[in-house]
């Protein structure tokens, strides 16, 4: 995934997020589906529900909230999460060609 991809909530499907403690519930208005998100995903949606962020910004935010184990690959983990959310229609990724 490109370093500078922009990740945000989809424009067409309206996504609603509600946060309680360390979990969040996401509602997809187009499909009517409801998703329960916990762990790192909650922080991701806390950021995205305010506005779209680049991959770098998201990583930075996660680094400030979580303490990783030495060998934990946060970038890969985030990329996989975003991939999953994209498949579920919860986020949209736009390739950012600017440096």
């Amino acid at each position: 995934m490109f370093e500078n991809n922009l990740i945000g909530l989809p424009i067409i499907a309206v996504i609603h997020c509600r946060f309680w403690d360390d979990e969040c519930v996401i509602y997809n208005q187009l499909t009517g589906d409801v998703h329960l998100i916990d762990g790192m995903g909650v922080e991701v949606f806390k950021v995205l529900s305010k506005k779209a962020a680049s991959r770098i910004q998201l990583l930075k935010n996660l680094n400030s909230v979580f303490e990783w184990e030495m060998d934990f690959n946060a970038e890969d983990f985030l990329d996989n999460l975003i991939n999953e959310y994209q498949k579920l229609g919860l986020v949209e990724v736009t390739k950012n060609t600017c440096a």
Binding site: H16, W20, D21, E23, C24, V25, G32, V34
Partner: protein, 301 residues
């Protein structure tokens, strides 16, 4: 004027002609029926509700009649209609009073999208509404009947009406429906409770209805603020155990217990989320009604 102030003759006559008009909480109903058991059901269980004159706006025009003249005598049946539309297949004639309750449930669930309608009992103590969503086997109606017999206000047994506009729970204090063993349990727990005739051999077994307390009916215009959302599960070997449930999981669980959540779309999601915001959420396991009632009465303080 309360229904019970009318003579049996007047009630029969109204049901057999233009229809008996009465209120059941926030809804006005007109019922026509030539079935004597229906008249008896109304007189014994709906006595505290107000009768309406023929100038009132009626929300639901309903009827309970045999499907054909032939079916009055040969394997007699009865069918429920809503303004000429038949939502169900006919049932045995003896199940007429149960069919009336199911029919009314259908009318409300299908046409009242000003509410998010949860399949749950809801009772009030100290102005706090306790909502008990009910999957089969949860014992929500048994719990509801037990609490109500100990002085809790009945808001509704079958359908919790959560207003989409103000987030309050609106009353529908209709008779509480009990099945099979629960009928005996409540008759023992609350010997003073007024119960209508037991209808046997329905698809759900034996059904009996408990008359709602008069002062619950009298407060049919007073909504209540939700305070607790409790998912009960009756287990005959269980202790009385109340465990906190995370709000997110409670939200997911309650969405599976709604009649019209999908129809309301984002309004439904927001209503339920707001409910979760203001309510403490729990799972509840029990086998002993006295202990359950004591625990909730404590929780209400």
């Amino acid at each position: 004027m309360k229904l019970e102030t009318l003579s049996k003759k007047t009630v029969f006559r109204a049901l057999n002609s233009d229809g008996l008009r009465f209120t059941i909480g926030g809804f006005n109903v007109c019922l026509s029926s030539s079935v004597p058991a229906v008249a008896e059901h109304l007189l014994s269980l709906y006595g505290a509700f107000d009768v309406l004159d023929n100038t009132a706006f009626i929300d639901f025009y309903t009827a309970l009649e045999p499907p054909s003249k032939l079916r009055r005598f040969f394997r007699p049946q009865v069918n429920f209609s809503f303004d000429g539309y038949f939502p169900f297949k006919p049932l045995p004639y003896k199940q007429a009073s149960a069919m009336f309750e199911w029919g009314l449930n259908w009318c409300i669930a299908s046409h009242s999208h000003q509410y998010l309608i949860i399949h749950a009992s809801v009772v009030v103590r100290n102005r706090k509404a306790f909502i008990f969503p009910g999957v089969p086997g949860s014992g929500k109606s048994t719990l509801c009947a037990a609490l109500v017999s100990r002085g809790w206000r009945l808001l509704s047994d079958e359908m919790t009406l959560l207003s989409v506009s103000d987030g309050c729970v609106y009353p529908l204090p209709r008779p509480i429906s009990l099945k099979n063993r629960s009928i005996d349990v409540i008759q023992e727990f609350a010997p003073d409770a007024v119960m209508g005739s037991i209808v046997k051999n329905t698809a759900k077994g034996s059904i009996g209805h408990v008359r709602p307390p008069d002062n619950s009916v009298a407060q049919y215009n007073t909504p209540a603020q939700p305070a607790k959302l409790i998912f009960p599960k009756y287990d005959k070997d269980s202790n009385t155990v109340l465990t906190t449930l995370s709000k997110s999981r409670a939200l997911l669980k309650v969405t599976e217990n709604c009649f019209n959540y999908n129809i309301l779309g984002v309004k439904g999601f927001n209503s339920l989320s707001n409910l979760i915001d203001v309510s403490d959420c729990y799972d509840f396991k029990y086998s002993n009604l006295e202990e359950a009632v004591a625990l909730f009465t404590d929780l209400a303080h």
